[in-house]
């Protein structure tokens, strides 16, 4: 990936972050921390990796995306809006009674959402079902799914980990948003899911560890996953919860609380400054 493309994606990712924060601020509720940590990945998937068409969101040959950590809907809506699945202005309706943008992703209401999620541990299983369907139909589409590191505490994740390896679902790529924090604090203190890499390896997955905020590294990990045959791949992304908003970074307190007006304006001005800085680059 050339520098120009990295710059373009960085600008989009920061717009996605702004959308996510606008959603949470407008709703006065939602989950900003984890949304900011996956904004780079979602931008890369929707703008560089996945075969999706906003004009034909149900195309049966499209790549699929399942946000297993469904509470980070603000990031998903943020990227879908930037991609053109629905108007960016609609983001402000997030969680409002007259809006289609539900608190957690709803496949029947939101264009571009491939699966309704929100109850942790279920999305990754559904993604496995989609990947199996592709195998049964000899189709080449791929399935991507993002798990939280706290979500790994759900037993169902490991039922699916066993299943995907057993059926050799090499068209399934899972990401772990490894920001190290869950609602009640540090994941290693609440209920230690570590070592994450060794667990997935023991279940028969190909494991890659990379940086959640480096497009080139993330892309090469995804390319490696595509080239890996006979087993599913998990990409453990070392991420920063609250990424790119100074006062939200690495703070579990921002898992599920909305910024007030002053905080929202500060966050937006920080992101605008980053966008301006990127745009000024040669």
């Amino acid at each position: 990936m050339d520098k120009k493309r990295v710059k373009e994606l960085s600008i989009i990712a920061n717009k996605v972050r702004k959308n996510a924060l606008t959603a949470v601020y407008s709703a006065a509720s939602g989950h900003p921390g984890g949304s900011l940590s996956i904004a780079d990945l979602l931008t890369l998937l929707y703008f560089e990796v996945m075969n999706v068409d906003p004009k034909n969101p149900k195309d049966e040959n499209r790549d699929r995306f399942v946000l297993s950590k469904g509470h980070c809907a603000p990031a998903l809506y943020g990227v879908l809006a930037e991609k053109g699945f629905f108007p960016v202005a609609d983001i402000k309706g997030f969680r409002h009674i007259d809006s289609y943008l539900q608190g957690h992703p709803d496949m029947n209401k939101v264009p571009g959402v491939d699966m309704s999620t929100g109850s942790l541990g279920q999305g990754i299983s559904v993604a496995g079902g989609m990947a199996l369907a592709a195998k049964l139909d000899n189709k080449s589409y791929r399935v991507y799914s993002v798990l939280g590191d706290g979500e790994l505490e759900e037993g169902q994740v490991w039922e699916q980990a066993m299943f995907a390896a057993h059926y050799k679902l090499d068209n399934l790529t899972a990401f772990v948003d490894n920001n190290g924090l869950q609602i009640d604090g540090d994941v290693s203190k609440v209920m230690n899911p570590n070592p994450i890499d060794e667990k997935f390896r023991a279940f028969g997955w190909h494991v890659i560890i990379t940086d959640a905020h480096d497009f080139e590294k993330l892309l090469s990990a995804i390319e490696e996953a595509k080239a890996t045959k006979g087993k599913p791949t998990v990409i453990i992304m070392k991420s920063v919860k609250g990424k790119n908003v100074s006062f939200m970074e690495n703070n579990a307190g921002w898992h599920g609380s909305a910024p007030n007006k002053e905080q929202y304006e500060q966050a937006v001005s920080e992101l605008d400054a980053k966008i301006a800085e990127l745009e000024a680059m040669a």
């Binding site: 049966e60 491939d114 309704s116 279920q122 559904v126 079902g129 049964l136 169902q156 699916q160």
Partner: protein, 310 residues
Amino acid sequence: MAKRATRESYGAALVKYGANENIVVLDADLSKSTKTDMFKAAYPDRFINMGIAESNMMCVAAGLAASGKIAFASTFAMFAAGRAFEQVRNSIGYTHLNVKIGATHAGISVGEDGASHQCLEDVALMRSIPGMVVINPADDIEAQLAVKAAIEHEGPVYMRFGRLAVEDVNSEDYQFELGKGVMLADGKDASIIATGLMVGEALKARELLKADGLDVRVINIHTIKPIDADIIEKAAKETGAIVTAEEHYIMGGLGSAVAEVVCATHPVPVKIIGTDRFGKSGKPAQLFEEYGLTAANIADKVKEAISLKR
């Protein structure tokens, strides 16, 4: 009369109607008991063993359905409706995906395995999910047609099958219509509304009551959701007293569904026959006797319901 367990009808119907390439059948290591092994033998490429992981199975079925498949997810009722309830509710019900849940070994007629495996709350649980169709067939003929109807219906369906062989109550030319109750015998003094293997008992109860000079209507409700409100309202108006019979807790099953209709349309006495406590080990016939799931108890309750008529 022919006798067959409806779980066998399930396996047979999956083979009979399973030629459609979009149909896939999932099972959680119980294919010999749920009889999906019959489908596995006929269409091995479209059979997926999920291992002992019902929660994952329901969500994988949802993923398959979201990708255009008609996914049958099969296990015992206890694990389908009980253990995986929330997966069914959120990944299949809320999404309204085309998943068909084949739940076998429902009710107390499981017998010797005892309370841990005797699911008596599945109808209540599944009925609570918006958009879910709930079918409890009475015999082999109806069970097979229910599978066919489930394939033709777009959206989630919960099918409740039994382990115990039951006699046919329907004839070979029986026409099954989803959501429509069936009047098996007319009568004017009271109505027995039954589902599943209690339909046979209801017909026997009708004969017992004849000896007492009572003329009782018998209605088979195979589709508990959506319930046939018309046939129930008509029974209330025309017979003035209702007894329901099911192999399920009194709370939340057929009896509740019937009472909801009767209360809202034409209030008359409704006696609900079902169980009110956990099951236990024993032979099915002994359990039916102990828990009151018999023709004799139905007949007694009909007399009580008639005595409450105003």
